[in-house]
């Protein structure tokens, strides 16, 4: 009997430790004490103040800090030419993080060496600069040896809580090239979208193909959803065609021969009317021959996209420009004429640029999509959900207060109704909640708003097993059994009932998990984990506590 108890005690303590271990880093208390950050936030945020020097003018200071995972990010990008953009994005994120904390980042002139980034902030003393980073909870106060012991992962919040974009696209089967298979086109699309998003610098993207020809993209915490959507949707098919004729309407064009020629439009702008072009159908050079694209500025300071072709592309380009001097070459992007400059001279060296008609953001987007390559097919948006960070925050707050009040009500009711035993059941319920959190963190599950609702529902329902047991104990006790016998009989008799009822509920939860997606899955997960944890806390933990308490002298009266 003694040894049986000690095994149980060890198991319960082990579960408790496990739960605390995985739950604590997610708490606010932990944040306040240690300022630890989650992997999601670690991406591209200033981590550790490395160096500080006050500016000569006294009105600004240079702070140098470390950016976490920089090496990893660079590794992933591989192409050294692209690292410029990655660095820009990283620094931009860091800058935003500092600005969010109230800093005025005055000179935006980043310097990057070995994962260390320098930025100049306005009028901060060293202490203030330090406080800025501390206040931003951007670096850990704990020594590395301690932080590495604890799981670094906080609980993952769903997009509905954290804010973000959830997109479902369908690959337009009509737009796939004839010699291309559907699965191939879909998987290449996924790869290209991933590249584009990586280059744009969004943390923890999830890009998956599903149901054959669909692509689901989940991006947490994106601040500029419209731009990101544009970045994903653009097919980015770049082609250079020779111009045969141009006119203000399609009808005014010279008659075309459908085999060798096509008619495309240049969309109008505020200053310019739409224009129609008759082009040679076969493109002279395409985006496939592109080696690199980046944004730069022309003499007027307007953004341009600078293109660099590979050897083959450069040769084609030299050939076509050499033999058509004085003619127009149309730059066609996604079947729309972007511009049609006149060829001035033979272009060798494979350099070209697309000028005019776009904002800096558009130019940046274009450079990214051109580098990442064209999508093999166009995408149709089936579903798009954007949750702003504000709504997520409010949902967390509402869920939190509902959780606290709900839990308090349930706990009070149990303590009032079942006295001492009720308080034990209360402890079991709290333990149960802790376990759910820990398991979610451990398995990388996601906490969603319905998940929080599931958690609260579980709190209301988790007492059920104990209610069944306590009612049974009461009955057995009334029928004249001793306290210990009544407790044992109560647990024994209630056991099958608890198992049966939990299995059926678990069954529906499993089906919910399989059929549901996103937030609903989060709900099914918390509910399912809660049900299993419930059997453990209600049967093993409460029984153990009762056994330990009602031994010897105290076993005369039962407080239930």
């Amino acid at each position: 009997m003694k040894s049986k108890h000690s095994v149980k005690i060890i198991v319960v303590l082990a579960v408790l430790l496990f739960s605390l271990f995985y739950t604590l880093p997610s708490t606010k208390m932990w944040d306040n004490a240690f300022g630890t950050i989650s992997p999601a936030e670690q991406y591209a945020v200033p981590q550790r103040l490395l160096e500080y020097s006050a500016g000569d003018d006294g009105a600004s200071a240079l702070i140098k800090f470390q950016v976490d995972r920089m090496a990893e990010i660079f590794n992933r990008v591989k192409d050294p030419a692209r690292t410029d953009d990655v660095l820009n994005n990283v620094v931009d994120t860091a800058r935003k993080a500092l600005v969010d904390m109230g800093a005025e980042v005055r000179v935006f002139n980043p310097d990057y060496v070995n994962g260390n980034v320098s930025l100049r902030v306005a009028g901060k003393s060293k202490d203030e600069a330090q406080a800025l980073l501390n206040g931003a909870r951007l670096y850990s106060k704990l020594p590395l040896i301690v932080t590495s012991l604890f799981p670094r992962s906080k609980i993952t919040l769903g997009l509905d809580l954290k804010g973000g974009i959830d997109l479902v696209y369908q690959v337009d089967l009509n737009s796939i090239q004839e010699n291309d298979s559907i699965t191939d086109a879909v998987s290449r699309s996924v790869e290209i979208i991933r590249n584009r998003i990586d280059m744009f610098g969004i943390a923890e993207p999830s890009i998956k193909s599903q149901d054959g020809n669909r692509i689901r993209i989940q991006l947490p915490g994106v601040k500029d959803p419209e731009r990101v959507k544009q970045l994903i949707q653009n097919t980015a098919m770049l082609q250079f065609h020779m111009v045969k004729d141009q006119a203000l309407t399609a009808a005014q064009l010279e008659p075309i021969s459908p085999e060798g020629e096509i008619v495309l439009m240049q969309p109008g702008t505020n200053r310019q009317q739409a224009m129609w072009f008759k082009l040679v159908r076969k493109p002279e050079v395409t985006g496939r021959d592109l080696k690199y694209a980046k944004v730069s500025f022309d003499d007027m300071g307007a953004p341009i996209v600078h293109l660099e072709f590979n050897a083959e592309g450069a040769a084609k380009f030299a050939q076509v420009t050499g033999s058509h001097i004085g003619e127009q070459l149309a730059i066609v992007l996604d079947n729309k004429v972007h511009s049609a400059p006149v060829i001035q001279s033979r272009i060798t060296g494979g350099m070209a640029q697309i000028t005019g008609r776009f904002s800096l953001e558009e130019a940046q987007n274009l450079a990214i999509v051109l580098r990442a390559g064209a999508l093999p097919a166009s995408l149709i948006a089936l579903e798009s959900r954007v949750v702003g960070p504000t709504l997520g925050q409010e949902s967390i707050k509402a869920g939190w207060s509902a959780g606290i009040i709900g839990t308090l009500l349930v706990l009070l009711f149990m303590a009032f109704f079942y006295k001492f035993c009720g308080i034990l059941a209360d402890m079991a319920v709290l333990f149960n909640t802790l376990i759910i959190f820990a398991v979610l963190v451990f398995f990388g599950g996601t906490l969603t708003l319905p998940g929080i609702a599931g958690l609260i529902l579980t709190i209301g329902f988790a007492v059920d097993a104990n209610v069944i047991i306590f009612e049974r104990i009461k009955e057995e006790f009334r029928s004249g059994k001793t306290v210990r016998a009544a407790i044992n009989a109560g647990f024994d008799r209630a056991f099958t009932c608890i198992i049966d009822s939990n299995v059926t509920t678990l069954l529906t939860v499993a089906i919910l998990y399989i059929f549901g997606s996103g937030p609903i899955r989060g709900f099914a997960t918390t509910l399912g984990v809660g049900l299993i944890a419930n059997v453990f806390t209600a049967i093993i933990c409460v029984k153990l506590a009762l056994d330990l308490y009602y031994s010897g002298e105290r076993a005369r009266t039962l407080s239930i």
Binding site: S501, L507, T508, L512
Partner: protein
Amino acid sequence: MKNRYTFFGLSITLIVISILLLAVKGLNYGIDFKGGSILHVRFVDESNETKIRDTFKQIEKDRKLYFTSDQIVVQSVAGGQNREFIIQYPSAPLDTAQNAEVHDHILSDLKRMTPFSDEALEVSNVGPTIGDELKKQGLQAAVLSVIGILLYLAYRFEFQSAIGAIIALVHDLIIVLGAVSLIGLEFDVTVLAAVLTLLGYSVNDSIVILDRIRENRKITKDNSFAAVIDSSINQTLGRTLNTSITTLLALFALLILGGISIKGFATTLTIGCIIGTYSSIFIASPVLFEMTGDKLGRNK
């Protein structure tokens, strides 16, 4: 047991009303199911439905929309000080790339004409394809759940008990859907999740009583099944009520404090919890009784 016909009558009435409601009024499907778009926004200045409609009329003039401004549904969010609104408009009949553009234009136009105090709180567009699939999946999930529960119960209990529990469950399902239709609650994915969860919980309640009947049957000296059922229900009554109370306490907290996104979910479960408790006491075991008869040991 004596009053069972009264309760059967009550339940049948409720079921008939629910089916009529579902047939005539139907469910108020949210965009998850019927497709469409939602803009949840908070304006800088106070606004109202007429103003928002006027803004959409303006947008309609400038852009080619596939719906008219009369088709939008504007809902002012309670506690949003006349600044927070949820605007719904229908989905296009087909999924096309142009539709996606239309949505983006509407949002940017709206933002330009009536500035938001924040980024849009929520912007969702669901094409018609996804909605239809979701309906099918929801139905499949419900049917699978019922079959799964039936099989498990038939394995653990005798078949009549399983049927009793399943009838109680279907009873709950129909009445809850009827209630959802009656109050015009928007039927979205979270409400569907609530309904499916309910299947589990409803049967859970019945099982506790059926389990007691199973046990009492073996030890009873009396040969009356009705007496066994009555005493089983009475013995488990404390549990049935207490668990329902704690669950309702948690649900009420969720309903009142949980915020707008979770309201439908909490409402559905609250109704379901009450109906489920009723049916497990007054429907599940009486149905078992009707099928088994009063003589004990005839079936086992």
